[in-house]
């Protein structure tokens, strides 16, 4: 096995993919993608949601197996059947959902399964010393190797994941949306760490859809769109605009259905004045009937917290709300549902569905839980709603866990449509679902708007925000920092979201 010459770029790449393809449920998600990663360099992998970046990364990590093409690691063809095999080979991955044991210490997590031993016994002191050393290598001195992971912040937990990768003396570390849940200062911290890793000859695969970071950090970049390779090469040859155009490519309008005729923006349905709690502050918001308001912002900007505050999951502790002009005090999700609100949650498996129950039972969860008397009538309407969303399933009694992501989302939507809500809040409505299902969601939103429902859509997909919103709010650090025109470009939204360049309408009073 040839030992790669670390110092000179252009030597044999440490990691190379050639014409890799993968499909799920018959839908091809990656077709013929190739890329190569030089040791001691940061390679960006960008593309908007659904472009296939995470799938490619998961193939490298041994989570999924590729359908076609070859993967070369350190010059040799590999096919990792399990993440641990990839880790042991030196290809480590930091997933977005951390794989840590909250109740164990940092050191115990980093060396889980490979606890260092002295004379047959686990050398606890040695283990935390090694962890300390690894942290020091990353320039971290404020994380105690013996602290319980549960007591750490999200950023700190991410550093532990990176340290765990490093402990495999990984020569490639791939990171999936690492800055998603980080505040600004924490992002800079991560970049410092990446620089240090680069200096040590470690190759970094940096998966993100945040252009600013890609340009700051990555030496080379690969742009994917709809599962295909668009461009791959040094970042210096690209500008943010050219990259966005490559990422977005097709015209936005054709993909996102426009407002149906007869949709009129009517009376104000929901207002929030000076709303706030532990996570969001100074929220002034009004949603009008028939209007789709998009909420953009980086991960951790507080968009989900805003949705959960309005819906009463994590209620406002100050400020006032009104619905259709009447004062509204929402202290629980039950009160919100009774007042005609609906929340399609971010994580449908954990918060939206009861996976072991049937499709029918899932669609009736809210009705049975809150409006029990309507169960009989709504039960007859459910098949109609489901077919209007063109759901594909074996029957009303099929367990929801056997449905694809898209169909599962349609069940969640049906669950809430059955309550005939006046205000619908959607949190990342199209994350992780196939393109066909996305279109169905957008059409539904348009129909709801036409029926006078006020819609608030939180989304990390800028094209979706631009394509669907009548008005765009941008959040940063728990506050609404800007309100933009519907046609705004991704750059304006991004810059408002990162709080660097003032948004078009500056600070919202």
């Amino acid at each position: 096995m040839s030992t790669p010459d670390v110092s000179t770029p252009g030597a044999t790449p440490i990691l190379e993919a050639r014409d890799v393809s993968k499909s799920f449920f018959g839908i091809e998600v990656l077709h013929g993608v190739s890329l190569h990663l030089q040791p001691g360099s940061v390679h960006g992998l960008v593309g908007e949601n659904g472009a296939g970046k995470s799938t490619l990364m998961k193939i490298f990590a041994g989570v999924h197996q590729r359908d076609a093409g070859t993967v070369l690691f350190d010059g040799e063809e590999v096919d990792f059947g399990h993440p641990i095999k990839a880790m042991q080979a030196g290809l480590a991955t930091v997933f977005q959902e951390f794989t840590l044991l909250p109740e164990r210490t940092v050191a115990e997590n980093v060396f889980l399964g490979r606890e260092p031993r002295k004379a047959g016994f686990v050398d606890n002191r040695g283990m935390s010393a090694k962890t300390g050393a690894l942290l020091a290598e990353l320039g971290i001195d404020f994380i105690d190797p013996n602290a319980r992971v549960a007591s750490l912040s999200v950023a700190e937990q991410q550093i532990v994941e990176i340290t765990k990768a490093l402990s495999f003396d990984a020569r490639v570390i791939s990171m999936d949306e690492p800055t998603a849940a980080l505040a600004d200062h924490e992002v800079e911290l991560l970049h410092g760490i990446i620089e240090r890793l680069k200096a040590r000859g470690v190759a970094i695969l940096y998966v993100s859809h945040r252009l600013k970071e890609v340009f700051d950090l990555c030496d080379t970049v690969t742009v994917l769109k709809d599962g295909a390779l668009v461009w791959s090469g040094p970042t210096t040859e690209l500008t943010p605009d050219s990259m966005v155009r490559m990422m977005v490519g097709r015209s936005i309008t054709s993909f996102f259905p426009g407002a149906l005729e007869g949709t009129t923006v009517g009376e104000t349905r929901l207002t929030v004045t000076d709303g706030g709690n532990g996570y969001v502050d100074g929220i002034d918001l009004d949603l009008r009937a028939g209007e789709i308001v998009g909420v953009a912002g980086l991960q951790g900007a507080g968009r989900t917290e805003l949705a959960e505050a309005i819906f009463g999951a994590v209620p406002f502790t100050r400020g006032t709300m009104t619905i259709d002009g009447e004062p509204l005090v929402v202290r629980s999700t039950r009160k919100a549902v009774r007042s005609g609100l609906a929340l399609i949650t971010e994580d449908r498996k954990a918060q939206g569905l009861a996976l072991h129950q049937s499709v029918l039972d899932n669609t009736l969860l809210v009705i049975r839980g809150v409006f029990a008397s309507r169960t009989r009538t709504v039960r007859r309407e459910v098949p109609g709603i489901l077919s209007s969303l063109e759901i594909s399933f074996r029957g009303l009694d099929q367990e929801v866990q056997f449905l694809s992501g898209g169909n599962q989302q349609k069940v969640v939507l049906t669950k809430w449509l059955a309550t005939k809500p006046r205000v619908v809040i959607l949190d990342e409505p199209t994350r992780g679902i196939d393109v066909g299902a996305k279109v169905a969601v957008y059409q539904l939103m348009r129909e709801l708007a036409k029926d006078g429902v006020a819609i608030l859509m939180v989304s990390s997909e800028l094209p979706e925000v631009i394509g669907m919103s009548d008005r765009i709010l941008v959040m940063h650090d728990g506050r609404i920092t800007a309100e933009l025109e519907p046609g705004s470009s991704e750059e304006t939204i991004l810059s408002a979201a990162t709080g660097t360049i003032g948004g078009a309408l500056e600070e919202v009073a």
Partner: protein, 363 residues
């Protein structure tokens, strides 16, 4: 002769019924049928209606407690206090009704009140103070038994008046085929009917879904603490009904109801209900109770020394649960559409879990 009161009439779709029979949900009926046939083989006059209805009368208290326990287990919790609730109600009946018929109605209402109160305490401490229900109901079991024995000096002063005990002992006499329809059987039938209604009602479905995913229910506007607490109230009330039947059937004694919590949990599990919640059918839970008692009766008739009874019960419950665990896993693998859930679950970039699906590395 299939059990008169619980087995659903097998419709024309015999194939579908057969499929249900071998599925974890239906296996308990198959086992029950086999046991009843075996008992009849050993002792033909067991099958004569008069004799069989007596068997149903005997099993009624355990079946009712199992029905109550079903609602708690399907919501993902445990109720270890049912045995003590029965002991409490039996002693209350013995001491407060005594031989005074006029006391029957007021004391019965008091017993129902006590049952509801115990259920509320179990439920509220579990849901609001977030103490695991195993520990809450264990504490309730110890405390309740201690209080009852302390107050009554170890045993009730005497059996309640015969007219009260008629519920547990007597029945509608000289009925054609059966000779007697014991009240206990009627009460069991009514309880099971009500339980089926509840489990099919919006409340029942909400409860089962809460056992499956409590977070989803919180985000669906469900008052999870109230839904689960009422399951505990149902369990304590069913123990109260069982207590009333037992004091009628067997009279007052400190050890009445002892160990019923483990028998009830075993019966519910035999009925294919999954510990941890979200899956199970109330009729199968009741059938589980009949299966357990049929097993003991078979052992009595087969003159198996009663000391071997526990061993056989142990083997049966492990085998039954292992069967449903294996069958359930096989069903999960077999029926999924295209890609089996083991490999590519949702399409790419599923946010929730990067976690791979175990292949060769399974321990």
């Amino acid at each position: 002769m299939s059990d008169a009161t619980t087995a659903p009439a097998f419709g024309t779709r015999a194939l579908n019924a057969l499929r249900v029979l071998i599925s974890p949900r239906g296996a308990v009926f198959l086992l029950l049928a086999i046991l009843l046939v075996a008992i009849t083989a050993l002792n033909p006059n067991f099958a004569d209606p008069g004799q069989f209805i007596r068997f149903v009368q005997r099993v009624a208290p355990i079946a009712i407690v199992a029905i109550g326990q079903y609602f708690v287990i399907v919501s993902g919790e445990f109720d270890l206090s049912v045995g003590s609730v029965i002991a409490t109600q039996v002693v209350l009946a013995g001491n407060l009704i005594g031989q005074d018929e006029s006391k029957i109605v007021p004391v019965t209402l008091l017993m129902i009140g006590v049952g509801i109160l115990i259920g509320l305490i179990n439920g509220l401490v579990t849901t609001l103070l977030r103490v695991p229900s195993f520990i809450v109901t264990l504490g309730m079991m110890l405390a309740l038994l201690g209080i009852v024995y302390y107050v009554t000096g170890g045993s009730a002063s005497g059996n309640p008046v015969d007219s009260f005990r008629e519920i547990g002992r007597g029945g509608i006499r000289d009925v054609p085929i059966f000779g007697i329809i014991p009240w206990a059987v009627i009460i069991l039938a009514v309880t099971l009917a009500v339980a089926i209604l509840i489990s099919k009602s919006p409340y029942g479905k909400t409860l089962i879904a809460a056992g499956d995913n409590v977070t989803t229910q919180r985000y669906s506007g469900v008052r999870v603490w109230w839904v689960k607490t009422s399951a505990f109230v149902i369990s304590s009330l069913s123990a109260t009904i069982a207590g009333i039947l037992l004091v009628g059937y067997a009279g007052v004694h400190p050890s009445v109801g002892r160990g019923y919590e483990f028998i009830a949990i075993t019966a519910v599990v035999l009925g294919g209900v999954v510990l941890g919640g979200g899956r199970g059918w109330v009729v199968a839970a009741a059938a589980g109770a009949f299966t357990l008692e049929a097993l003991f009766t078979l052992l009595n008739f087969a003159d198996v020394p009663s000391t071997w009874r526990d061993t056989i019960q142990g083997v049966i419950i492990i085998a039954a649960v292992a069967y449903s665990a294996v069958a359930f896993r096989a069903r999960r693998k077999g029926r999924a559409p295209l890609a089996s859930p083991e490999q590519g679950k949702a399409s790419e970039s599923a946010p929730a879990d990067p976690a791979p699906h175990t292949t060769s590395m399974e321990g």
